[in-house]
Amino acid sequence: MIPFNFEYYEPSTIQEAVHLFKVLDDQGKHPLYYSGGTEIITLGRINEIYTGAVIDIKNIPECSTLAIHNEKLILGCALTLSELHDSGLFPLLGETGAGVADRTSRNKITLGGNICSQIIYREAVLPLLLTDSEVRIAGPGGMQQVPINQIFNQKLQLRKGELFVQSITDTSYIHMPYTAVKKRKVSAIDYPLVTIAAIRTNSMIRLAFSGVCSFPFRSQMIEEIINRHQIPLQSRVEEAVNHLPAPILDDIKGSAAYREFVFKNTLFDTIRLVGGG
C-alpha cells in the first residue's frame, strides 16, 4: 500500500497537463506526470518517491500516437513497451524494450516512463540515441522539438513542469542492420550487467550502452575507435574500455571487474553480429 495520499488528475490536452503541473507545483504538491506509473507505485510504496498529486497523461491523444508521417516515425510517450514491440514498426526499439522487466509488466511500462525513470538503466533510450531521433517536449513556454542527443545527458534534461510527449525518428534508420544484447547476472528477468544496442549505417557502426556505467549513453569516441577497421577487433574493444564516460558500475549485480569482462565480450559479439568484425 502506498503510505501517503495523492490527488489524481486526468487532463485531456497537453496544455491542460502543463497548466495543472504549474498550479499544483505552486500549491506545494510536488506533482508528477503519471504514464505507466509503475515506478511511482513501487517506489512510493517504500517511501522513495513522494508526490501530493499525479497527472495521468494516458488520455492525451498525442501521448498515445503511433504513426508514420512524412517518413518520420512518431511514438507517443504513453505507448507501452509491449505495444511498441508488437507493432513491429521499430524493431530495435521493440527488442530493446522487450528486455525490460517481464511481458505483463511491459503491458504497463511506457516509453516515456522508462526513459524518464529514476532507475538508472532507461534502456528504451538507446535506440533513440542511435537513430538521432528528436523528442517533443511540452512546457510552460509551449512545445519544442529537440535532438535527443542534445537533451539526453545521463538522463533526459527536463526542466520542472516539462513533459516528454513524443519521439520522432527518421524511418530510414528503421531498416538498418541492428542488434540489441542484454546480459544479466543470473535470471531471465533482471536489470542488466550490460546492455548494448547497435546499428550499422552506410558508413559506420553506432553503439549505445546501459548497465556499464551509472547512466545510459552513446559515445562518439567509442564509435570512432570501434570503426577503425584496419585494427584487429580485439584491440579495438580493449581500447574502447579506456574511453567509458564514467567508472564502471560496481554493485551486488556485478563487480566492476566482472562487468568489464562481460562488457568486452558482449561488445566483441555485438560488433560481429552487426557486421563490423
Binding site: 502506498i2 495520499n5 495523492f6 509503475t38 510504496r45 494516458k58 511481458r103 505483463t104 528477468i189
Partner: protein, 159 residues
C-alpha cells in the same frame, strides 16, 4: 470520479458487473479488489510487480494489479479469477497437475487465459516470454507450460 480529491468514487466493471467503490487515488487495484470488493483470488505476493500472483485481465490483456491504481481501471473491463468458469485453461491446470500450493495459480491462469485469447498460435518463444511474468515458488513450471500448450492451437503437437 472527481479530479483532485484524496478520496474518489470509482466506477469499475469487474467480472462483467458494475461495481462502485470509494477509494484513495493512491490505492492499488489489487487492494480494492481484495479489501473493498472481497475478490481475494488475486493474491498479494511481492506487491512490487515481480511475482505475478496478482495478475488480472484488463480489456483482454494481463495486468499486475499491484502496479495499477484502482482509478486507472475506471471504465475498463476487469476480469479476475472469480470471473472465469470452467475455461479450457482451468481444466488444463487440473488435468496436467499444474499447481502445488496454489498461491500463484490464479495469477498464472489469468496470464495463460489472456495468452490463449490473444495469441492462440503462440510459439514456444512467446509462451516462455509471457510465462516469465509469473513466479511459482513450488517450481511447477513444466506442468504449467504443458497445461497452456495443451490448450493453444500450436502447442498440442509439441507435447
Amino acid at each position: 470520479m472527481r479530479d483532485g480529491a484524496h478520496v474518489v468514487k470509482i466506477e469499475l466493471y469487474v467480472n462483467r458487473e458494475g461495481r462502485s467503490v470509494v477509494a484513495r487515488p493512491a490505492d492499488t487495484l489489487l487492494h480494492i479488489l481484495r479489501e473493498e470488493l472481497g475478490l481475494t483470488g488475486a493474491k498479494p505476493g511481492c506487491n512490487n510487480g515481480d511475482c505475478g500472483a496478482c495478475t488480472v485481465v484488463m480489456d483482454g490483456w494481463p495486468m499486475k494489479s499491484c502496479i495499477m491504481l484502482a482509478v486507472e481501471a475506471a471504465g475498463r473491463q476487469v476480469t479476475t479469477i472469480e470471473g472465469l468458469r470452467d475455461t479450457p485453461i482451468q481444466r488444463a491446470f487440473a488435468e496436467k497437475w499444474a499447481f502445488q500450493c496454489g498461491y500463484c495459480t490464479p495469477g498464472f491462469i489469468m496470464n495463460c487465459h489472456a495468452l490463449i485469447q490473444n495469441r492462440p498460435d503462440a510459439t514456444d518463444e512467446i509462451i516462455t516470454d509471457w510465462l516469465q511474468s509469473n513466479i511459482c515458488r513450488c517450481t511447477g513450471y513444466k506442468e504449467i507450460s504443458e497445461a497452456v500448450k495443451s490448450v493453444l492451437v500450436t502447442g498440442k503437437d509439441t507435447l
